[in-house]
Amino acid sequence: MSDNSRVRVSIVGVVIVALFSTLLVRLWFLQSGPEDSLKVQAVLDSTSVIQTPTPRGEIKDRNGVVLVRDRASWAVTIDRDLSKRSSDKVIGQLAELLHLKIEQLRSQYLSDRQSLLQPAIVALDVSQPDRLEILQDPQNYPGVRVKALTVREYPRGSLAAQVLGYVGEVPSADLPRLKKLHYGPGDDIGLAGAEYAFESQLRGRPRRETISVDPTGAQVGEPVKIDTGAVGNSVYLTIDSNVQRAAEKALAEGILGARGLQNTDLASTGLVNFTAPAGSVVVLDAQDGSVAALASNPTYPLEDWVGGISTANYAAITNPASNFPLVNRATQGLYAPGSTFKLVTSLAMTKDRVRGIGDYYTDVGKFSVGGTTFRNAKDEQFGPVNLQQALTVSSDAYFYTVGNDFWNIWDRGDHRRGLGIQSEARDLGFGARTGIELDENDGRVPDPAWKSAYAHANYKTAKAKKENSVWYPGDNILSAVGQGDVVVTPLQLANAYAAFANGGTLWRPHIEDHVVDARGKVVATTKAKAIRHLTFDPNVSATILAGLQGSVDQSKGTANAAFQGFPFNLFPIAGKTGTAQVNGKGDTSLFAAIFTANGKQYVAVAVVEQAGFGAQTAAPIVRNIIESMTGQHPGIVHVIDANNNPHD
């Protein structure tokens, strides 16, 4: 090597020594500078709490079939503070990476159903390769994060959607109230149905770590205090998923069938079918008030709520055109009960000795009082009928006159006895919430006091207030047949029939069976609670039961057309049809039945809006459910054409 080269290599060496020395000096000054170290030390005095939700409990049916559970899901979130341009770009890139539609991602990003304080969850169940791509390439995905979530999963699909309800973010209005329970923005909470009712059981206790933080909020050192929290308890419902499925299937088929039936009420205006927009079914264990099935139609996909419902989906299920699928019509729907209410009138008239079980009344198809004529359906005339026959054929005139007789007693000044139908209705649970764990409505049992209060609240002039306060015979007459101002929920109707069926105990209906903790230990068992005990005269009960049995198994019975070929000798049934007229709409079709399946006594009620006679739509639905519960393997529901002569 030449000396020149040697010198030059040496120069390179000198340069390198200089560079390395610079690094060492810089490192020394950075790391031994007393001020900087003090700065960092001085700020380690504040604490903050990090809360992590623990898995939510499961919801199962009475046999342990899982209806709702938690599962882990890797979600992709986008920060809220991105500019429009950045978010558009990021959404485009994510759409390509995750093979999702841009509109879908944007709809999730913009959804006002998600907290604006938290990054928006735009995609769930992101695979590891996709997560890796995002993680390794943060500059291509600004504001995008990957986050582990636990989300609800529905192994049985949307079965019992309105019963189960859904979870979502704590509504901001509820945050102050829920703060002491350690709910924070973005936390999940049950918002409807069982998820809402059993929130305190299902939620468990979140894990809470108290940590030291520096001024940027960054954690310093190990947590100061750890509350490990607890996994949520699992709730077993009284719902039987097999019965529930049968009820939902029968209801849906019945509704579809009804839409194929001609509405003969409107025959004058041309051939029009029933619209049958909605309906519900209740199946109740008559011996303890436990609910075996609660179906409400239309229904909605529970899956839509997972990870925060999109604006588009929320708009779709809250759009009036979709008939409010979120509403549980079985507990919240209010309907005139029609002739199904004659059970109440029958019990009231015998108890108050207005008419005896053996007394005959001659039905001429109508009854007039004070210039108003009340007619039977189709103006049918049944001739002389006693209570049993009146129930079987559903003679309106028979019960109109009972209502009128009560009114006369009231008018003579005996207000207690004169309002016997109303007090019997209240005893059977109408006009008040049943106490089930779900959202429900009161219903209404109209009486003079209600009418007066209503008139005073709704009419302006003193004259109008006074006129509309009057308790007319017609008010009582319509009440006697479940029309006029009487409204009930399907659950109330089922519960009243259950009380009659079991000999007089009005149970508080319930859907919670028992609760187990994460280790499987039973921590709570729901005991059947009686609201009250009623006493029925055994002869009266027997007569009413015979009348209700006749309505299904005798050729004159109102529901007989719907029960053709049913093996009554094996599975005796008592039932009552109801056809409630609704102003400006098609009739509500109702049916209530008492039957025995697997050694247990049940009541099943079906109510379908704008679907014709009780026997046309509701009775075939109930028949289908009974057949399914008694192992008869029914096919689809056969609704009954009006020409097939159902009446009432």
Binding site: M1, S5, V9, V12, Q31, D36, L135
Partner: protein, 377 residues
């Protein structure tokens, strides 16, 4: 390759060959420390990067063994072939490569990425050294221009991939080789003048006059990218701030292995790659940082020593070129984390996560060790 009486392995430099393993071992530990919490949060194996880096280490050692087995003088005589071989890779990546972190410089090979610009550094050193060796006694202006063209073409292709860092590395190592090869002082003066003028022009003509010099480089880097000047600017500032906080946090003794606050909270971006030194600084403190710099000093000393010991001119130039690559990368990378050098995407040799860089580093050390052990034959 048993060390028989005639084998050149008898003269191999054990220090030079052992240091890459020592530094890589520390590197694996630091990669694990910097990525484990983040990976766990993303639901992946905490060892994801460690496993991939280990695979690269194995491949690197194999590549080094292959390089050692071939007499470097055969490589010297094949320098045009070595050079020409990398050009299609560089062009190919421009056409089909994957954009990654602002630089379009990767081939996707199954699950692995291959970055041709890394191996280009070594190829250019071999080529320039080979060319200068061939014309060792008369490196006139014309020959200098050819030498510059050899480096320049490669630099241009790398720069077109928006990889400013590697472009600078090639510039520095080619310059070092040319200087030692006998570049005349007047030519050195002219080249330095051209460089200063170019940088000065950027300062004067651009809107960047107010910025510090380190940011000028940053500015060039970003504007050569396509569309995210503003975000990258703040990104660079943020990276630097978090990086310095991490090193300051370390103090003299460090916060302890796996106990770094900045590290565990993943506050330093790209910490397992370009900012790996911040993990050393935070968790092992000045003690650890100085030790690492000391290990690099030792490595660089052995490379420098080989340059002096080489039996031929090519060996000297090769050792100087590799020396320049390592010294510049170490100074730029560590300097960047401490805020005395601009932020560019240059990996810290044997420490940063990245397969192409690791394999290239082993090959480079293999070449110099090759020169070293064959100095008597």
């Amino acid at each position: 390759m048993a060390a028989s009486e005639t084998s050149p392995l008898r003269h191999a430099d054990p220090v030079l060959l052992a240091l890459p393993f020592a530094i890589s071992g520390l590197g694996l530990l630091m990669i694990y420390s910097s990525s484990r919490t983040r990976l766990a949060r993303q639901g992946m194996s905490q060892f994801y990067y460690v496993e991939r880096q280990s695979l690269a280490l194995v491949l690197g050692v194999i590549a080094m063994a292959v390089v050692l087995a071939i007499d470097y003088r055969r490589i010297r005589d094949m320098w045009p072939l070595v050079y020409v071989a990398v050009l299609p890779l560089l062009i190919g990546v421009l056409v089909t490569g994957r954009t990654h972190k602002g630089a379009q410089s990767w081939f996707q090979v199954g699950p692995l990425q291959f970055q041709p610009s890394e191996i280009t550094k070594v190829a250019v050193v071999v080529a320039v050294a080979g060319y200068c060796h061939h014309h060792r006694d008369d490196l006139d202006a014309g020959r200098l221009a050819v030498g510059l063209a050899i480096a320049g073409i490669a630099m241009a292709l790398v720069f077109l991939q928006h990889d400013l860092g590697t472009t600078l590395v090639i510039l520095v190592c080619s310059f070092a080789v040319l200087v030692v090869a006998g570049l005349r002082p007047v030519h050195i003066g002219v080249l330095v003048l051209i460089g200063v003028t170019l940088v000065g022009a950027a300062v004067v003509t651009g809107k960047v006059a107010a910025y510090r010099v380190d940011r000028i480089v940053g500015f060039l880097d970003q504007s050569s990218g396509s569309n995210k000047t503003a975000t990258q600017q703040t990104q660079a500032e943020y990276s630097l701030q978090e990086s310095k906080i991490a090193i300051v946090n370390g103090g003299f003794a460090g916060e302890g292995l796996f106990k770094g606050r900045q590290t565990n909270l993943s506050y330093v971006p790209e910490q397992h790659t370009d900012f790996i030194f911040t993990v050393v600084g935070e968790e092992l403190g000045f003690f650890g940082g100085a030790t690492l710099i000391g290990l690099y000093g030792l490595l660089v000393w052995r490379l420098w020593r080989t340059a002096l010991l080489s039996s031929d001119f090519f060996g000297t130039l090769l050792a100087v070129g590799v020396l320049a690559i390592f010294a510049f990368q170490i100074f730029e990378n560590i300097g960047m984390t401490m805020g005395i050098m601009p932020i560019t995407g240059i990996p810290l040799p044997f420490m940063s996560y990245g397969g192409s860089a690791i394999i290239t580093s082993f090959i480079a050390i293999g070449l110099v060790a090759n020169v070293n052990m064959r100095r008597f034959s």
